[in-house]
Structure formats: C-alpha cells, structure tokens
Amino acid sequence: MNGVARVAELLGERVYAMVLDLGAIFTLFLQVVSLVVRPPSEIRNIVKQMEEVGVRSMPVVLVTATFTGMVLALQSYSGFQRFGATSFVGSVVALSITRELGPVFAGLMVSGRVGASMAAELGTMKVTEQIDALVTLATNPVKYLVVPRVVAATLVLPILVVFADLVGILGGYFVSVYLMGANPYVYIAKTYQYLEFKDIYTGLIKASVFGMLIALISCHHGFVAEGGAEGVGRATTRAVVASSMMVLISDYFMTSFMF
C-alpha cells in the first residue's frame, strides 16, 4: 500500500509540475503576443536569431532530410516489390516527406540544436543575474530575449522545411534511380502525380508551429533555471526533452485537424 501510495504521489507531483510548466509557457506566449508590436523594435535581434536558428541549423537539417528520403526510398522499394508496386515509390517518398517527415525531423533537429542553445544561454543569463540586470536597465527581458527567438523560429522553420523537402525528395530519387534502377521519368511523374499543394503548405504550417513551441519551451526552461551550472544543465535537458515531445504531440493533433 505504501509503495502504491508513493508511486501515486510521485506521479501526481510530476503531473502537477507539468501542468505548472504548461501554464507558464502559455503565459509566456501571451506576453510575447502582447509585446511583439510594442516599441522599441527588436528587428536587429530577430535577424540575429534568424541566422542562429536558420542558417546554422541548415546543414544538420539538410543531412537529416537527405538520409530520411534515401532510407524511405530504400524501404518502400523493397516493400513494394513484394506486390509489384515499385512505381509508387516516388509518390510515397514525396508525400511522406512533405506532409510528415520533413517538418517533424527538422523540428526534432532544431529542438536538439536550437532548443538546447536557447535554454543554456538564457539559463546562464538567469543564474548570473544578467536577466535581473536587464530589468534594472529599463528592458523587459521577455521582449528583449524571448520575442526575437520566438519570432525568428516561427518564421525560419518553414524555410528550413522547404529545403528539407527538396533534398529529401532528391535523396529518394537518387536511391531509387541509381541504386534500385527505377525509371527516372516514371519516378518523377509519380512524384508529381499525387502531390498536392496542400501537402506542402500544411507541412510548412506545422513547421511554423514547431518553431514557435520549441522557442517558447526552451526560453521558459532557461528563464526558470536556478542553481548555477548544474541548474543550467538541468534546464537544457528539460528544454530538449520537452520541445521534442511537444513537436511529436502537436504534430499528431495538427495532422488530425488539417487532413
């Protein structure tokens, strides 16, 4: 009985902490929305963050997307061979990449790369009192630090995903045509045949939401960091885990609403 009670207590504590976090993140979101248009303009910081989130994440996103497209072609080719439907590999690759794998893998990679760096940077600023210093220098830390990161991530992730979609489909093409010996004309025709514009733009909307969630969650965990280097480490881990999970969870719900 004691054991059961303790498990229930532990579970309750975790759920309680999670609900508190969600509430804080939602509050942060409302603050960002209300501060985004207020002067002074944060355009310089936004551009700087767009470089950080976008340009610097490009290599890792491209590599991930290429190999995702390649392995997808490989797997579906050997699977479709069993019932002689190899001509549909192109369609499968294109639809899976644009609708699902492009945005989700880009979101996961950005969670790891950008989420970690945002949480670590803001967490360090918190524990070294730099965030308090901002307040004493007549600056709202949410406006100065969170708004540019959220805006940049929201704008930049769809751009990353456009490139991810492109190289993912190309990766699939190369594997199918050069390794599996598929007919290049049929492959390209099949890629286009079933691909609708909606598949692409829903993927981009998802990416935008992922970017916003990753930035909000990571900034929140950085802001509440305390207890020196160890606390920053904990905040970083939490940010990466929580934003990766939120990418996958929100992906399911967005998919169920959009299709």
Binding site: P40, T128, E129, Q130, D132, A133
Partner: protein
C-alpha cells in the same frame, strides 16, 4: 528619500523579511549589513522591483512603488542603477555595448553622443581604452567597475550595490570603496549598499543598518555601530564566532537533530 515600511517577503514557508522598516536619506549612503542568507539581497531586489513582497510599502520620493502597475514601474526603475554581486555584464556584448546598453535602449542620445557618454562613464570608474574588450577578458575588479559604469550610464538618482567588494583583493576592494564615495560626492546619488565586509561598511557608510531575522535591529552612524551595546550587532561587527547569533542557530540545530 526611500522609506520602507513593514516590508514582508517569504519564499514558500521561509519568512525572509518580516515587517522590515528602513529610511534611506537622500544623497547619503546607507549600508545594510547582515549574515549570509539573511535576506539582504532580497531587500534590494524588492526595492528595485525585481521581487514583489507580500506586504509593506516602499516609498520613493513619496510614491509607493509596490502600488504601481507594470508601466509605472518601468519608468520608476529608470531612477535606479544597480551593481550586481558578480557584475552581471552581458557576456555576448563588449564593454562599450554593455555600458551603452540602456542609452541605446531608451534612445537617450544620438549614436555619436553615446560614444562620448560611454567614454566619460568609463573614465569616471578609472578605465579607458577597453571598450572593445569582452567581459570574459576582464579581471574581477575591472568587471565590477564596468558594471558600475553601466549602472551610472543613465544617470540614476539611486544606486544599489550588491556586495560591491566581495571576491576582490583588499586593494581593489578599496578602489571600489573610493569609487562609491566619489560617486556619491560628484553625482549626489542616494545609495543602498549591502555587504558583510565591515571595513568597507565603515568606510563608505553615512548610516549603517543591521538586518537580522527579517528586521532591521539597529540603525546608526559607523561610530555608533562600532560601539553598539546591542549584543547581536556587536557580535556581527566584531566578527566573533560565539555570541547571540550563533547561540540561537546552535539551539536550532540541536532542536532539529533531537
């Protein structure tokens, strides 16, 4: 003048400030002394509005900052400059950008004029030709002085010093003491310093207040504090291991372990 009345702040069940009263006269330096963890930092963070106390009032020139909404608070904060314990320089910016931060943020001067102001503030703390250095390249004493230059950049009426001499060698500590005195004399700022460095406290203070158990237990000039009859204050300023402060905490330890 800053008048603090009945200030109470708790974290969870732990009461840190318990109905604290303190009057900080205009143009003078008030030093708040007290042991580590007694809530000195909490006190000045309440004054500058970084923490919200549960009860009490903090009147600055008659206006209670605890009754202000966020917008009024932002403009009230422009009266303050604060020097943080570990300087809290923005480590992504060089020294010049750190000092110029609030000037650019509030667009107080034109860009050309900002450079002059930054140079002037840095020379007031005895530094020159370091605008291009990053905070990581500075020694602890230089960081403190850059932090001070940043705090005075917008010419505040009130300066708050969070343990200005902690972690510095004795000579650099005295340089900081001299700077605090000269800033008071040249700029006429009102200041609150929190410290447990008694040498520094005696040197820079016009008035010393001792914080103990969430209340100010004694206020006086440095000479009055030096020759105090209050046993708690006497133990602290003379730095003795035995006395009423440690007796009480030992009792507490015994009570817990029983």
């Amino acid at each position: 003048m800053i008048a603090i009345r009945g200030l109470s702040k708790r974290f969870g069940k732990k009461v840190v400030l318990d109905g604290l009263d303190l009057t900080v006269p205009k143009g003078k330096n008030t030093v708040v002394i007290g042991g580590s963890g007694t809530g000195k930092s909490v006190l000045i963070k309440c004054v500058v509005g970084l923490l919200r106390p549960e009860a009490g009032e903090i009147r600055i020139d008659g206006q209670d900052i605890l009754r202000m909404d966020e917008r009024e608070l932002v403009s009230a904060r422009r009266k303050f400059g604060m020097l943080f314990q570990a300087s809290a320089l923005f480590d992504s910016m060089d020294v010049g950008e750190n000092v110029a931060f609030v000037l650019r943020r509030l667009k107080m001067y034109t860009e050309g004029h900002i450079r002059e102001v930054v140079e002037e503030k840095l020379s007031m703390v005895g530094l020159r030709d370091i605008q291009r250095l990053m905070p990581a390249e500075l020694s602890g004493g230089m960081k403190k002085r850059v932090g001070l230059a940043r705090a005075i950049a917008s010419e505040p009426d009130i300066l708050l010093y969070d343990e200005p001499t902690t972690g510095l060698d004795p000579i650099m500590a005295d340089v900081i003491n001299d700077l605090i005195i000269s800033l008071r004399e040249t700029l006429g700022v009102t200041s609150i310093t929190i410290t447990h460095d008694m040498a520094s406290a005696y040197k820079i203070a016009d008035q010393i207040a001792m914080l103990y158990k969430g209340k100010i237990v004694e206020v006086g000039t440095p000479d009055q504090i030096r020759t105090t009859s209050n046993p708690v204050v006497a133990q602290f300023v003379q730095g003795r291991a035995r006395g009423p402060i440690t007796d009480e905490s030992e009792e507490f330890v015994r009570f817990v372990s029983r």
